[in-house]
Symmetry: C2
Subunit: 419 residues, 2 copies
Amino acid sequence: MNKRGGGSSRPGPLLSPVGAARQQSLRTHNLALVLRAVVEAPGPLTRARIAGALGLTRSTASDLVDRLIAARLVDELEPELVGRAGRPGMLLAPHRGGVAGLGLEIQVDHLAVRVTALDGSSLGEAREAGDHRASDPAVVARSLGRLAAQVVTQLPAQIELAGACVSVPALLRSGSGIVALAPNLAWSGVDLVALLCEQPGLRALPIELGNDADLSARAEARARAVAGGTAREEQSFLYIAGEVGIGGAIVVDGEPARGQHGWSGEIGHTVIDRSGPRCACGATGCLEQYAGLDVIRRRSGLSLETTVDQLLDRERRSIRVRRSLEWASAAIGVAVATTLNLVDVERVVLGGVYARLFDHLAPGIEREVRSRVLAARWAPVEVVAALAGPDSAATGAGWRVLDGVVADPARWIAGHSHP
Amino acid sequence: MNKRGGGSSRPGPLLSPVGAARQQSLRTHNLALVLRAVVEAPGPLTRARIAGALGLTRSTASDLVDRLIAARLVDELEPELVGRAGRPGMLLAPHRGGVAGLGLEIQVDHLAVRVTALDGSSLGEAREAGDHRASDPAVVARSLGRLAAQVVTQLPAQIELAGACVSVPALLRSGSGIVALAPNLAWSGVDLVALLCEQPGLRALPIELGNDADLSARAEARARAVAGGTAREEQSFLYIAGEVGIGGAIVVDGEPARGQHGWSGEIGHTVIDRSGPRCACGATGCLEQYAGLDVIRRRSGLSLETTVDQLLDRERRSIRVRRSLEWASAAIGVAVATTLNLVDVERVVLGGVYARLFDHLAPGIEREVRSRVLAARWAPVEVVAALAGPDSAATGAGWRVLDGVVADPARWIAGHSHP
DNA sequence: CACGTTTGTTCACCCATTGACCTTATCGGT
DNA sequence: ACCGATAAGGTCAATGGGTGAACAAACGTG
C-alpha cells in the first residue's frame, strides 16, 4: 500500500551487469551520459564539445541533446561568444525550470527542506528548529510534512518534482523505507516513509530515505565539482560529519559507497583504544567518545547547551578548550588514518561542526595521518573543510532524487511525454 | 621499451561511464555478459538458459555463443539429458583448451607458479621454497622466470596464454609495473615488470602486478562461487590474509575494491590501541603488532622458525600458546569490527595461516564483532575460513589475467582471429 | 570579399538486436 | 508406432540507432 520507496536506480554502471544490453539500451545509456555531462560540466558546453568529450559523432550528440531539450532537461542558451574563427556553438545548461528534487532533512536539533533544480540552484527552502531527541516519529513527520508543503506550494508552476528524499541520522533498512535505528532520535524500526506518505504536502510523490552523512557527502561532491574539482581524484574523499554523533561516508568518483546494506562509513565507532571509555553503542574506545561534540564540550568544561560560536569564542582564552580540541583532533586523526589504510583515498573532508572547527582540528589530524597512513609517503593526504553550505543533507537529498533522473533520462522522458 | 604492464581493462561496468556507447559496444558488452555467465555458472548452461537469464532473445544469445565457441572461449559438450519434454539443449562450459592465465606468486618464504584455464582447472604448477627477506629483486626475478618457464614449456600446444600476473606482498604503483614498497622483501621502487620481461620464459607476454591479498581474495571469491555461493551477498566479504604481515581486501560482488591507488584493505595497520607497541610502519598500536605471525610465535614463547603445524601441536598442551592465540584473536576482532563499521559487509574470510588457525581464532573474533559492530544486530556477521587452496595468490593472479579476457572477449577475438 | 575554420543538420548506410517462423529432438499418451 | 505437446536451436527480413560524409550557417582573417 504505502510502498513507494524504490524506483530510482543508482547512477553507476548504466547497463546493469546482470541485464543484457538491448538495442534501446544504447540510447538510454548515451542519453544519460549526455545529460550527466551537461549537469556536471565545469564550464560551458556545446553540442560539438559533448561529442568530442564522449567520443560520439556530432550527429548523434546533437540528436541526443535535442531530445533532452524537448524533455526540458537541458536548456539552450545564447550562442557562445568566442574570439576564434568558426561558427559559435549554442551554449547548453541544465534546465532550471523543469524537473526538481525535494530534499527533506531530519536532524537532532532542526528540520530542513530544500527544492533543488538540475542546475543546482535552490528553488525554495525552509528550516525549523526543534529538539528531536527521544521524539515521536509521527509528530516529527507531521512537522516535516507541513514544512515541505509550505515550500512546495510556492514553487513556480512549470516545476515538476521527480520525488522526495529524506535525510535521517540513522541506519536504514535499505529499500524498505524503514528506519532501523536512529540512536540520537531514539527511533528504531520506524516506517518513516509510510508516515510521510500520509502528509497532505507529500501525496503522490515517491519518497525514499537516505543516511545523513551519505547525503551530505553527495552535496559535498557536487559543491566541489562546481568549484572546479571534477577530476576523479577530486571526487574521491572521506567525508566526516561531526556532530554529537560522528558519521562518515566514503565517496568514490562522486558517489558515496553504501556497502552491502547501506551502512558503511560509520567512522564514529572506529576504535581508538580498545580499553578506552564505554560508548553508547555498547563497545569501548570508539571515536565518538573522544571527539563527539558533547565530549568536546564536557572536556572543555562547558555545558552541553554551549553553541559552536561560544566554543570558538572561548577557545581564544581558555587553555582547557584548546586542550580538549587537540585531544579530539588526535583521536580523529587516528580514526582517519585507520580508515585511509582501509579504503585508500587521498582527501579528507571535514563537515558538520568539524568544518567550523577546522582550523583547530586540522593540524592534529594531519599529524596523526602523516605518521600512520602507509601510503602517505607517495600520495600525501589532504585534509580540507567542507564546501557545501548549511543543511547540506537536504541539498544532497535533492540531488539524490535528481540523480535518479540523470541516471536514466529515458525513463523520465517516457513517463512524462504522454501522461 | 619494457612497458607492457597495461592493456587489461577491469571487469566492472563494461560500457565505461566516461566513454559513450557505440553500436559495436552492444556486442562487446553482450559477449562479455554471455562469457561471464558461462564462466561463473553454478550449474550447467544452455543457449536458451543464457537467453532467459540475461534477457536476450534466443537468437541473439545463440549468435553470441557461437562466436565464443569459434574463438575457443566456450566449449560445447554433449546434449543435456533431461527428464522433461522438449528438445534437449547443448551443454556449454568454459573452454579449458584455449586461453589460460599465467599466475606468478612471490612470497616471503616461497615462489609459486600456476596456469589457470577458463574452467578454473590448473593446467600446470610449480613451487619453490626460499627465503626472500631482504632479497635482491633481480635474483628473485630470475628464479621466478625459470620456474615459470618450466611450467609454460610443458603446456599442451593449443593453450594460449593471455598474459601473466605477479602477486607481490607490496604496495604497487598502479599501472606502472613498479613495486613502491614491499616491507617484508625490503624492496622499494623496484621495476619488477621490467626485470621479469627480460626472463626467457616470459617474453612476449603482457605482465602486470597485483597485491597478494587482492589476488588471494579474488581466488577466494571464485572458490566460493564454485562452492555454490554466486549470490551477491556471498560474493561480498572482508578477506584477511594473515602471515607475518597482515593484508586484507574488501571484496564487493566478487571484485576486490582497490581504492584510488590500489592500496586499500591494509587492515594490518588498523589501530587497536593508539598507545600500543611501536610498529615497523612507524605508527603505534597497529594490528600487526598484536596478531602478526611472528608476534604470535614470540608471545607463545616459540622461535621464529616454528611452523604452523608445530604451533598447532603445541597449542594442545601449552596454555601460553592458547593465551597468545586468544590475545591475537581479540585484536583481530577489534580490527575487523572497525573495518565492518566502515565498509559494511557481513562476511569475514580468514585466509593465509589464519585459515589454519581458524578454530582457535574465530571465537575471539566473533566475540568482539558482536559487541562492536553496529549493524550486527540486524545482519549477523559470519566469520569463516578461506576455501581457496594453497598458493591462492597464484590462482588469483591467473584469474586476474583471465578476467581481462572475460571482461572483453571481443578484443581477445579481434586480436586472435587474424594474427 | 574570398577563404579557412568550426558548429549544427541532414541523409543514406551499416551494424546488431528483434521476433516471427521453421526445424530438430525428446516425452507422454493412445 | 504414431501423434500432439513442449522446448531448443537456427534462419531471415525488419527495425532501431549510431556512423560518416556532405552541406549550410556563422564567425574570424587577410
